[in-house]
Symmetry: none
Subunit: 418 residues, 2 copies
């Protein structure tokens, strides 16, 4: 079963909003074996919508339309659907009751004529209930294609997809199995990985596809298997993953779909009752934020210092001023001292320290732009490494952050004897 998503609305085409709906719909449909063949974003313009519907009907079995169902004049999806299907609007009493109930409870005012019109739907449509809003989802079948129209408001659309669309698709259509497995790797570039695993890749069975998803020093490898025999797919994926371990096992940090390395670290620290503190100069809070944005951080995370100004590194963090004077503030010695002092001050098992020059101009140091020293404090000592990250400020910060995660995970695993 192939699907196309059509998002309707000028706000996407002028870059005012980022289309997050399509990713959600794609992910959910994918899970039940429906392939998204194409995503098409178009304007609130009748002829454009009609063209897009006709083209999609030729391409796919399922057309998912979002947007243009609001009560104002620029929302024309419903009328355009009537034109496309040679249909007319009729009042749906369940929808009308729901709209009235919503207004009664949250808006505390009687509904106006404009709101009442939300209950008008094409006579050929089956309603998909919208728990959180006034515009219902609509399911219309024509020949061999199903068209589903939903509001563009993300939480309304999500509730319709999860509670009504997915169950109905599962009930009415046979679908193939699709299995994804993502392997998260760190520290080696995409092209080098491709070289190492070339033979392995060439021997993958035809029903498994491999994709590389690189991002600032981390590369995710995604295996996708498709077919009707679920057991065969699972076996194929398992064999493929097994074959990868001897080749790049040392750079694999995790397997699951949405897992990232900071989550892996957080889980290990929590499970082993270990604590972490951080001193970030050039990364300026980015490493810290990656941990604190996840719930449960207070279990293992003691705190951070961001000693941005050079004098703060000695005055508050307690790095010996002589080291800074002798070695410069961007140096192995200063990063190491920061890691040691952080562990001591925060009384933590592990620490991360960064000092560097993210650019675009040189700061209190002559170090080349893009230079970053990363030190990891462990129960057994300090490990420090130097990197030249990039000539782009935010890229350098991002790469240094990812590299710090990678080094910390290595040290934690060493400590735990893994």
């Amino acid at each position: 079963m192939k699907a196309e998503i059509i998002t309707i609305g000028d706000e996407i085409l002028i870059g005012q909003i980022i289309d997050t709906n399509s990713a959600f719909i794609s992910k959910e449909l994918n899970k039940i074996g429906v392939d998204i063949y194409q995503i098409t974003s178009i304007s609130d313009e009748k002829q454009h919508i009609l063209n897009a519907l006709a083209e999609a009907e030729k391409r796919v079995d399922l057309v998912i339309i979002t947007g243009g169902l609001g009560p104002t004049n620029d929302d024309i999806t419903k009328h355009t659907l009537c034109e496309y299907f040679n249909d007319h609007l009729v009042q749906n009493i369940q929808v009308l009751n729901h709209v009235e109930a919503l207004f009664d409870k949250y808006i505390k005012s009687p509904i106006s004529e404009v709101n009442r019109q939300q209950a008008l739907i094409p006579s050929k449509a089956t309603v998909l209930h919208n728990e959180f809003g006034t515009a219902p989802g609509m399911w219309i079948q024509q020949n061999n294609t199903v068209f589903v129209s939903m509001p563009g408001v993300p939480f309304e659309m999500k509730s319709i997809v999860s509670n009504h669309l997915i169950p109905k698709l599962q009930q009415e259509f046979e679908r193939p199995f699709i299995l994804h497995k993502t392997i998260l790797t760190y520290g080696v570039g995409e092209s080098r990985i491709a070289e190492i695993i070339e033979d392995w890749e060439n021997k993958l069975p035809a029903f498994i596809k491999l994709a590389y998803l690189p991002n600032l020093g981390r590369v995710r490898l995604r295996l996708s298997a498709r077919g009707t025999d679920k057991v065969l797919l699972e076996k194929g994926i398992a064999t493929a993953v097994e074959g990868l371990s001897p080749l790049i096992g040392d750079i694999i940090v995790g397997y699951d779909h949405d897992e990232n390395i900071e989550k892996v670290i957080a889980n290990i620290l929590t499970a082993n009752n270990l604590s972490l503190a951080i001193a970030e100069s050039c990364t300026g809070g980015k490493i810290t934020q990656a941990f604190t944005r996840m719930e449960g951080a207070s279990v293992y995370f003691k705190g951070s210092m961001i000693p941005y100004a050079t004098e703060i590194k000695s005055q508050i963090l307690g790095v010996d001023q002589k080291i800074i004077a002798d070695e410069s503030v961007v140096s192995d010695a200063v990063a190491s001292a920061m890691a040691a002092q952080t562990k001591k001050l925060f009384n933590s098992d592990f620490s991360i320290a960064t000092t560097g020059n993210a650019g675009p101009t040189k700061g209190d140091s002559d170090a080349e732009i893009g230079t970053v020293f990363i030190a990891i404090g462990t129960p057994n000592g300090i490990r420090c490494e130097k990197f030249i990250m990039s000539n782009h400020r935010q890229r350098t910060i991002g790469k240094a952050t990812n590299k710090a995660f990678e080094m910390l995970l290595e040290e934690i695993e060493k400590h735990l004897g893994k």
Copy 2:
């Protein structure tokens, strides 16, 4: 001039990544008067790419293609472009030199054959230099349509668009004039603003469109004027903006297009030789990161403490333990003490302090989930406020961050007598 964006890559169609590139490209092209007619996301599959190119060529004058330019097997855009344009790949020596220089500097290894192939481009293509990566942008003109192919890595694509694509489009094509003016407001909701400015909005000339862009306590109002008479548009925008000041002048914090409040604060601090330090508990580094990600932060930013564990607030930051015991760690007294101690420790003119409970579970305090205290330390004292932000962790962190910016800016302006 009408454009279509084609994004190539299975990762979008399976919902693994959200397409943020299209919004950036749309926004930038819009600024120079190029309309985005459609955005089409398709798979890494040759026939699909060929079909999409042919359909787009019929619809628009400019086709922007992103993705599929990496060095691995799943990247087939370049070869497919050759097939579409009946062209072949040739080595580009400038690109090869650039790839070698990048490897020499950042990867520290000689380039492999796979990397060398990044310098192969269709003979009909003009290179758009990719400062930050190995895959160049490519510009190919056929009949009356321009095709531009760029890598999908966001910061590489952005640099090509801003530094090479936009200037080339401006040079080679006549476009209508489009003027945008964004008014950044803080602290009042979208619907309330709409009520206040309703009359003003109804009187806007037909060539000016207004859009509301709300986001976690900040609302940007974007005025867009389009036409051929530049002077008329500029006058229209200026008159509209003038009319807004008496209505919502008190919540306007800035005007320029991409300017955000942290940039406004950074500029004022720098210009007035004032300094800032931060203590973040519940916001966990997010406020700090907003400043340090911008270049030039070291001029005004002294540093931060993230005293996540309760004991760190007293041990390192020096908040009186008795205050924490008496008032609880999430309290006006603790936030105020944190702001005062931060100003003192870091010897800064201003400070921000946050303490709260972002959830989803309660921490070292009984405060309701979503409670945040924000304190601003100023040369004249401390101001502290309490908020109940939301029941969603990252939303609470985001709203608290924006509110802290808003309060800090108010205090700085008060101090400067504005």
